[in-house]
């Protein structure tokens, strides 16, 4: 696997001490271990919150009980939403960095997320309080269009460089956001916009998060297509030679990424840098074989969001802090380290 890894990243992945440690471990053992850690943390997170709920309350299985209702209506949906959104966004980021062949390209650095929120504002202006499905569909279309526009921008660059491409993406996202704010301001939607741009799980209740299961299903679908994404990531000629329908897989993959991003923005709001740092950290440790790192990325993403959400629930107890801000601080620092590291290793 080591050869493939060095080749896939343009030789940028010189073995670091950290990667060395992880490679000493079997990839499968690592995945199983992190899954166990995730499950324990997930179980624990069910009992963190303002109303005190203990495992014993749940075991009584009394549906009229207040504790039981808090558990079923709020705690379990919240956990499900965290796991689904965290894993789906991380996998989406992994697919995107493979397809675009730049590991700093993710939904939040390619204008996908900001285009989705522009779509939401547009849907709200055009259709008012339309059904969530309609809004979501429009957001998906916008996210797709924005991502394609970004791709066109990248293809027209003479030297699509690992640093300049995400820079263009972030700026493109900024322009999209300016347009979104313009319309949100004009039609008095700034408050709704704020909910979409800052991820928060505190409003996740039963009946308000189920769209995320769609996204969870799509994550499973990506696993089935993983090898094709890998081939497309190796370049057009290579993929076509091996009998892969290049355009179909490329655009299909980007469609998938846009769909996942749009749904997550609709249900929980944007979670900055999630799709960027988790895949980077996982591939640093486990190499670039998409099919092999995909489950670990999903687990890692879910764990990262869960950990950040636990922080956001406890740091200002009994109040809550939006999880987007916690991720923004932690993820931002990791991103900075990744950028500086990429540069010091040379291109």
């Amino acid at each position: 696997m080591t050869e493939a890894r060095a080749a896939g990243r343009g030789g940028a992945a010189a073995p670091s001490r950290l990667a060395g440690w992880f490679q000493a471990l079997d990839g499968r053992a690592l995945t199983v271990g992190s899954l166990a850690l995730l499950l324990v943390t997930a179980f624990g997170s069910l009992f963190i919150g303002v109303s005190s709920v203990t495992p014993l309350d749940v075991l009584r299985l009394d549906n009229s009980d207040h504790q039981m209702r808090v558990f079923v209506e709020s705690r379990v949906p919240r956990l499900a939403a965290i796991l689904l959104a965290g894993s789906a966004m991380s996998v989406a980021g992994l697919i995107m960095q493979t397809l675009v062949r730049n590991r700093f390209v993710a939904p939040s650095t390619a204008g996908t997320v900001s285009s989705a929120s522009l779509g939401l504002v547009a849907a709200t202006i055009w259709f008012g309080s339309a059904s969530i499905f309609l809004k979501m569909s429009i957001a998906v279309v916008f996210a797709m269009a924005g991502t394609l526009l970004f791709l066109v921008l990248v293809q027209r660059m003479r030297h699509p460089d690992i640093i300049v491409v995400p820079l263009v993406g972030i700026m493109f996202g900024g322009v999209m956001q300016a347009i979104t704010t313009f319309f949100a301001f004009k039609y008095d939607l700034l408050q709704s916009l704020n909910a979409w741009t800052n991820g928060d799980f505190s409003g996740t209740l039963r009946g308000r998060y189920e769209l995320l299961y769609l996204v969870g299903g799509l994550t499973v679908v990506t696993y089935l297509f993983a090898n094709r994404f890998t081939l497309v990531g190796m370049g057009r000629e290579f993929a076509v030679n091996l009998g892969v329908h290049y355009e179909r897989v490329l655009y299909g993959g980007l469609c998938l990424v846009s769909f996942v991003s749009a749904v997550v923005v609709v249900v929980v709001g944007a979670i900055p840098y999630l799709g960027l740092i988790v895949p980077n950290l996982v591939t640093m440790a486990m190499g670039d074989n998409l099919r092999r790192v995909l489950p670990a990325t999903a687990i890692g993403g879910a764990f990262f969001v869960l950990a950040c959400d636990i922080i956001s629930r406890t740091i200002r107890y009994p109040y809550e802090v939006p999880v987007g801000s916690v991720v923004g601080v932690g993820g931002g620092f990791v991103f900075i380290i990744l950028v500086l590291r990429a540069r010091s290793l040379g291109r």
Binding site: M157, R158, V168, G174, I179, F182, G328, V339
Partner: protein
């Protein structure tokens, strides 16, 4: 890619050789006239009711916007020279978000009530000091090693800005919600509500800083040629760069305290001034950029409130135009 793709040095040298002072002077005169026109229009258009009151109110607004426009433009030009490129600006490096963070942290650790009781001037002075300290640290960490690529700096700077604003958001949530609203009214201004308490202090600060740093400008022309040329010509490059960044930290604090972060304004006006004046001589580019900044804010706000009835905010338009211009710059520079 070349080692310094955005370096101004070769181009600066070329432009200095073929430089026409007449053109730069014409540009400056035109901008001055336009700015005077914008101020007059802003002050007198559709004047109703009590004349004294209206004039005073508008005068304060104009003064605030002019101060911010000048501070942002001047700090951006200085920053461009100090970092030897034309796309990094203090606000892209997250300096203004850093100021907001310092302010919020001070309120959190001192307690909101105590924080607001401190004399405005003292508070301001302390915040500016903290800002200078942190900005210098940030600068040494990021730019201290000369081999860093400009694009890496910009990317890191942008991420840093989002980290600072997310941290601000977190600290704000840690403050009691009731106290927080009180704080928000006092601390977070925008173009429509320029922070009035600080107007006089800010004007004095900007004035003093500008007078003190003006003699430095001609030596900065030499700094713009690059470290080696500058040293050969007998200019202490590193010391001048440090001084320029010191001035930048003060100016960013002033403008952020008055109206909050203004992304991209500096980038736009600084680059426009290089293009219009056709030179890299600071004696021309600084006044031109300053006038452009003031003109953009006063003129823009005037158009916005008189003809568009506040349908949008100036900051939205600036970040739209600035983002597109930035992408254009990336394309143009990366093509070489």
């Amino acid at each position: 890619m070349a080692a310094e793709p955005l370096a101004s040095s070769p181009r600066a040298a070329a432009l200095v050789l073929g430089f026409h002072p007449g053109r730069a002077r014409t540009v400056l005169a035109t901008l001055l006239v336009l700015f005077a026109l914008a101020v007059t229009l802003f002050m007198t258009y559709d004047l109703k009711g009590s004349l004294d009151y209206a004039l005073e109110l508008r005068g304060r607004k104009v003064a605030g916007m002019a101060l911010v426009g000048f501070a942002v433009a001047y700090s951006s030009v200085l920053f461009h020279t100090a970092t030897h490129n034309r796309i990094l600006t203090p606000s892209l490096m997250g300096f203004d978000s850093l100021y907001v963070l310092i302010q919020t942290l001070a309120a959190y650790f001192l307690g909101t009530a105590e924080f607001l009781q401190i004399d405005v001037r003292l508070r301001y002075g302390l915040e500016v000091l903290a800002m200078i300290g942190f900005a210098m640290l940030l600068y040494r960490w990021l730019l201290g090693r000369g081999d860093r690529d400009v694009y890496v700096l910009v990317l890191v700077g942008i991420i840093m800005g989002t980290v600072f604003s997310n941290l601000t958001e977190l600290v704000m949530r840690m403050i009691d919600p009731n106290e927080f609203t009180q704080l928000q009214d006092r601390l977070f201004a925008n173009f429509s509500t320029v922070n009035q308490d600080l107007l006089v202090v800010s004007a004095i600060t900007v004035g003093l800083v500008t007078i003190a740093s003006w003699p430095m400008l001609s030596r900065l022309d030499v700094v713009a040629l690059g470290r080696e040329h500058a040293t050969n010509l007998g200019v202490d490059h590193d010391q001048l760069v440090r001084r320029a960044l010191f001035v930048v930290a003060i100016l960013v604090s002033v403008s952020t305290a008055l109206v909050g972060p203004v992304a991209f304004l500096g980038l736009l006006v600084a680059n426009l001034s290089y293009q219009l004046t056709g030179t890299f001589r600071h004696r021309y580019t600084v006044p031109a950029a300053g006038l452009l900044g003031m003109l953009a804010l006063v003129g823009g706000q005037f158009v916005l409130q008189e003809f568009l009835e506040f349908q949008t905010r100036l900051s939205i338009i600036i970040s739209f135009a600035g983002g597109i211009y930035f992408i254009y710059l990336l394309y143009r520079e990366a093509r070489r």
